[in-house]
Structures are given as C-alpha cells and as structure tokens.
C-alpha cells in the first residue's frame, strides 16, 4: 500500500532531512514512526502525502508513484490518505459539524448528502453531541477527534497522523489512540508519527519504525 525505496530528501537551506529510507506499510497495518524531533518523521509523512517529492528514490502509495504522478492526480491521492496534525488545523470560525462539512464540500460531495455524513462521522469519533461547538469550546482531545472525523470524510484507506497526541493530556491521548486502533480494526492503515517513547513502549504489539538523523535506524518488523 505504501512503499518507500531508497528515499532521500534534501532541502536547499536545511540540508538532508532523509537519507536512503526504505520500508513498506501493508494494507490495514498500524505502525509508529518514532524518533527525536528533527529525525525526519514529518518529512516521511509529507512525502507519503505527496506534499513534497524525494530528492532520490521513490515513494509509492497505492497506484501513485512519486516519479510518475501527474499534478492533476494528486487530489485523488490525497483523498485516499487522511492526515491528522498535532495542532488540529481546524477552522475556528466554524462549528465541529461545519469543519467536517467543509471537507465534504470541497471534495464535491452532493449537498443533500453532507448533513447525514457529518452526523455519521461525528458519531464515529464519539462527538455527535458536540456538533454545534466551535473548536475554542472543545477540549484538546475533542478537537483532535473533530480533526480525525474530517480526515475520515474522504473515506481514506490510509491515515497519517503527525504527533496527534502531542498537545493532549494522557487521558485524551489514550482516547485518540483508541480511536485510531478502532479505525485500524475497520481496515484503515495507520502511520502515526510520535516522539513519545513511553507511549510507544506501552504498545509493543504495534510495529515501530525508528528514525535517527534522517535514517531508518530500526524497524521492529524486520
């Protein structure tokens, strides 16, 4: 489903972010992407989301290859790959329901279907009762759940999460993580970047891809 082959990424100012990284993530798999800040975790996620292209090597996501992908195919790829961020990236002027509806609207969902789908998505993340609340009225954990509901609006097969529990207290972090596990059991592949080593250690059953200084230092599945 996701394959990185000898991927290096260098930025003109900051230099090498990744060096020769290779791994595969299979359909329905769950993996942590770990490493200290600056190890290259976010760069890996951005490459898989085709926000940037490798300097060397190639990234394959479903049928899309970083060497051959056409610009006009990128939106379709991104609909298959949901993305959740540490800082939620919710629109403050919109309610929880409107934030989810926004995503449905921009991908061209027929207007008459939007309300029903928003309700289902918010129920799925356990936030149906807070649909009228604005982000500022929600806790960190609740905001992240809205962000997950929005990421699920496109029915992605892959969910990328960049430090999704970084701004949350342990209870909220545990709740969001359980949500990811539930989505994974339903068939969505999850790649979750985190620098929280304790959190990762508490889930030894989950594959761990460990980055160090832009290299893949360890793969627990290898």
């Amino acid at each position: 489903m996701i394959s990185l082959r000898g991927v290096s990424k260098a930025y003109p100012r900051s230099g090498d972010a990744l060096r020769g990284v290779s791994f595969r993530l299979r359909k329905g798999e769950f993996a942590f992407l770990t490493g200290p800040s600056g190890a290259g975790k976010s760069t890996v996620l951005e490459l898989i989301h085709f926000q940037t292209r490798p300097t060397e090597g190639e990234v394959q996501v479903s049928r899309y290859n970083s060497r051959r992908v056409r610009r006009r195919d990128i939106p379709a790829l991104r609909r298959r790959v949901g993305f959740v961020f540490q800082d939620f990236k919710l629109l403050e002027r919109l309610t929880a329901a409107e934030n989810v509806a926004f995503a449905l609207e921009v991908i061209g969902t027929p207007r008459r279907e939007i309300a029903g789908r928003v309700q289902r998505l918010l129920s799925q993340v356990g936030l149906a009762a807070r649909h009228r609340s604005r982000p500022s009225e929600l806790s960190g954990g609740e905001r992240q759940r809205v962000a997950v509901a929005r990421a699920l609006a496109t029915e992605p097969r892959i969910l990328l999460a960049d430090e999704p529990t970084g701004n949350l207290d342990p209870d909220a972090a545990g709740g969001v993580f359980e949500l990811f596990r539930m989505l994974n059991r339903l068939g969505t592949a999850v790649l979750m970047a985190t620098h929280d080593a304790d959190f990762v250690r508490r889930h030894p059953d989950i594959r761990r891809l460990e980055l160090e200084d832009g290299r893949l230092a360890r793969d627990s599945a290898a």
Partner: protein, 291 residues
C-alpha cells in the same frame, strides 16, 4: 456559482482592501482613458490631414489627350493609389478665379490661360508614408509630359513622425499603467489568498482539486479588474462631459468609439484575471508540486 459566492465573500472579508484596489486600478485606467481620448482625437485629426495628402503632377501644355488618358489608367492601377483626378487647364483657371478672389481681376483679364493641367493623386490608407509618397511622385514625374510633381515632402514627413510619436507615447503610457494595474491586482489577490491561508491548506490536505481552490480567486481578480475598468470608464466620461477640452485645430473632443470602451473594460477584466492567475499559481500551485 460557488466560485462567485466565494469571490463575493472575499470582497466582504477585506472590503477596504478591495475598495482601495478597485480605486487604484480605476485611477490608473482613468489616466489611460483620458490619454486614450486625446490619442483618439489626435489620431482622428492626423487621419483627416493624412487623407488630404496629395501628389500633384503639372502637365506640359502640349501633352496629348490620348497620352494623358493612358497615363491616368496606368496611375490608377498603381497599388498605392486610391484615386486620380485630372484637372484641365480650364478647370484650374475656374478654380483659381473662385478660390483666389483677390486676384479675380488679374485672372479675368487674361487672354491666354497660364495655368497647367494637372493630375491629383490620393493614396490609399497604409500607403501614406513619406517613402511611398515620394516614390509615387517619382513615377508621376517620369512621364515626359509631366513638368513637375509636388507632394509637400517636408510636412508629410513631419506628419508621419507626429503620428509615430503619438503611437509610441500611447503604447508606453498604456503599458505602464496596465503594469501598475496588474501589480495592484496581484497584490490584492495575494492578500486574499493569505487571508484564507488556513482554509486553502485544509482544502489541499483533504484533496480539493486545484481548480476548485483557484477559481474564486481568479473570479475575484477578474471582477476587481472589471470594476476598476467600469470605474475608469465612468470617471473618464464624467471628465469628458464636465470639462470640455479644446486644443489645436480640434473644435471639441470626440468621445471614444464604443468598441474602444468595450475593449478597454474587457481588457481590464482580462488583466485582472491574468494577474490573479499569476498570484494564484505562485501561492496555491506550490502545494501540488511540479506540473
């Protein structure tokens, strides 16, 4: 429909910026419009004078009528020549009596007509250059029965230089002000994009198509250009009505042809669209990587 809604929402979000942009674009285009008005009238006046450019060939008295008819046919067949008028000796005298009233006594007492017959050649539009006028005069003078060919070479050259200068100034000013308008629209659209940066980022993340994101901004640029164009047209018209200008030999300025005004407003909208496209491509297109 959504694009229009979003474009109007953009105007509502930053009304002051939009009003300033439309005003600034309008002002630039007003200056262009006023210059256009003057240029149109200068062009018209020059065109009138140019149409009067004649090459005159004075014929010897012993030119045979058969030769003159043949020469006339040959001259009419020249590609540069629009018309050939033959003025006989009698017509020349008649005209002199009519036009030069102060010499009517002199002409009335003449026993012999001293005035020569002549050919008056008018040239087609596009052929009224100093070179063509001079060349045609040379052809005319080459006939053995043509004593002299005149065409006022000095002022033909001056007229042509004046027209070239007017065209050059119009193009330079037009280009300059169009550039100012483009820069203003580029800035306005860039500000609109920055104001909606968060929304755009989310759209790109969830997989919105590039066109879906870009269309409202393109429309906003086109509408800004259109509004600036219409404002400029209105102010130019107002200036034309309120301050009737007179200059040189022109009695009063003629208003711009409808085609010009329509083309001007359409060009303003097109400039707005192109400026917005440049801005959008720079600010939004990056997230989709190389094309």
């Amino acid at each position: 429909m959504r694009s229009m809604r979003e474009a109007l929402a953009g105007f509502r979000r930053t009304p002051l910026l939009c009003v300033l942009s439309i005003g600034a674009i309008g002002l630039s285009l007003v200056i262009l419009g006023l210059f256009g008005l003057v240029a149109h009238n200068i062009g018209g006046a020059i065109g009138d004078v140019e149409r009067r450019v004649e090459v005159v060939g004075y014929l010897l008295d012993d030119a045979g009528s058969e030769k003159v008819r043949a020469a006339r046919r040959e001259l009419e067949a020249l590609p540069a020549v629009e018309s050939v008028r033959y003025v006989s000796k009698d017509e020349a005298l008649e005209r002199a009596r009519r036009d030069l009233v102060e010499f009517s006594d002199v002409y009335g007492e003449l026993r012999v007509n001293p005035l020569p017959a002549s050919f008056h050649l008018r040239l087609r539009e596009g052929f009224r250059t100093p070179e063509t006028v001079s060349e045609t005069a040379g052809t005319l003078a080459a006939y053995p029965f043509v004593e002299e060919a005149r065409f006022g070479d000095e002022w033909v050259e001056r007229l042509f230089a004046l027209r070239s200068a007017a065209t050059g100034i119009a193009l330079a000013l037009g280009g300059g002000f169009a550039l100012i308008a483009v820069l203003l629209i580029v800035t306005t659209v860039r500000m609109a994009i920055l104001a909606r940066g968060e929304e755009i980022e989310i759209m790109q993340i969830v997989g919105a198509r590039e066109g879906y994101i870009q269309r409202p901004f393109l429309l906003e640029g086109a509408v800004t250009g259109l509004a600036g164009g219409l404002l400029a047209l209105g102010v130019t018209r107002l200036a034309y009505v309120v301050f009737p200008i007179r200059f040189a030999a022109i009695e009063s300025l003629a208003w711009l042809p409808h085609l010009w005004t329509a083309a001007g407003v359409a060009a303003a909208a097109l400039l707005g669209l192109l400026a917005a496209a440049y801005s959008v491509h720079r600010e939004v297109g990056r997230a989709y990587g190389p094309s």
